[in-house]
Amino acid sequence: MAFELPKLGYDYTALEPHIDARTMEIHHTKHHAGYTNNLNNAIVSTALEGKSIEEILKGTSGHSTAVRNNGGGYYNHDLYWKVIAPGGSPKPEGVLQDALNEYFGSLENFREAFVQAAVTRFGSGWAWLVLQDKKLVVSSTPNQDNPLMDVAEVQGVPLLGIDVWEHAYYLKYQNRRPDYVNAFWNLINWDEVARRFKG
């Protein structure tokens, strides 16, 4: 079965003013849709057809560049739409809060590490909060790579991800990536991050 472009859980206007409606619409209907279509074209009638996206990504080193780029693009954007929500959600609680404190010292320290990773990723890519062998770490990846891929420097389960391709913020923030990253922080859906953490 072919992969489908996931529907968003909110309207394109719902993340205003942090992320504008026009950016949302183009990002979803053009970029994410493009990755989805290209992924389907890259796996049709191959051994990968019918496999889950996680399974495909785990074997990235053995796949074509088209599968790596578009499989990553398909998965990453799906995660991105889910880990943000209109108005965000209350700060992390319970086991996720404990784990963030344990591995970063405090939520504020985690925020600094995450923002730093997002701002300093040169070119196109993503910054992540990753669950790695029960530890939490921050990492970043180039282009559409992600921590599930066996080619990633830091491997594990992505709990939170921010898209720092220029298309994610250029219409509203232009060259001011740090402003976009700080705006994103206000939108984090911590319930979803906690759900992935308990996974």
């Binding site: 183009i26 053009k30 970029h31 493009g34 560049t65 780029n69 040169f122 070119g123 196109s124 890519g125 180039p142 282009n143 559409q144 391709w165 220029e166 298309h167 250029y170 219409l171 232009q174 060259n175």
Partner: protein, 194 residues
Amino acid sequence: MSFELPKLPYQKSALEPYISEKTIEFHYGKHHQAYVNNLNNLTKGSPFENSDLEEIIKKADGGIFNNGAQVWNHTFYFGQFSKDGCKEPMDQLKEAIESSFGSFDKFVEEFSKAAATLFGSGWAWLVRNDDGSLAIVQTGNAGNPLRDGQKPLLTCDVWEHAYYLDKQNARPKYIEDFWKIVDWKVISKRFSEI
């Protein structure tokens, strides 16, 4: 040495409607300027303090390479446009393009494809190899063909910031418009001066 942002050889609105004034304002005024500033900050007190851009491109890594190469790449990029420029290669460059690619049209087609398919941020280039032949190459992020001993003649910036305000996701449309402003007089001169 201290690096400076070179003057733009035309008004910011000069490439309208193919590249908007707003895009040039950000691309030249913010991005290019930031690479210059970052490079000055990074090279101060480093082994590259007295290096020129070419040496930095050939030898540096990390932030110094990224910012140094981006300064060079953008100066090269902005220096090749004019709406009233020459629309086709001249003299020996014309012959070299025909002998390497078959025809000018074939070259445009191949170069456009290289620019459209570079995944992520980067550049497409027309370069001259050591043996005199011409080639089309892609580089990711700040990559520059000088690093591999090739001589750049023409470049297309395909970082999204180069076209997103004007064309959004439609990179092929940006590349189509790119051909309308490349001044082949400049490119032919670059070729003759190698």
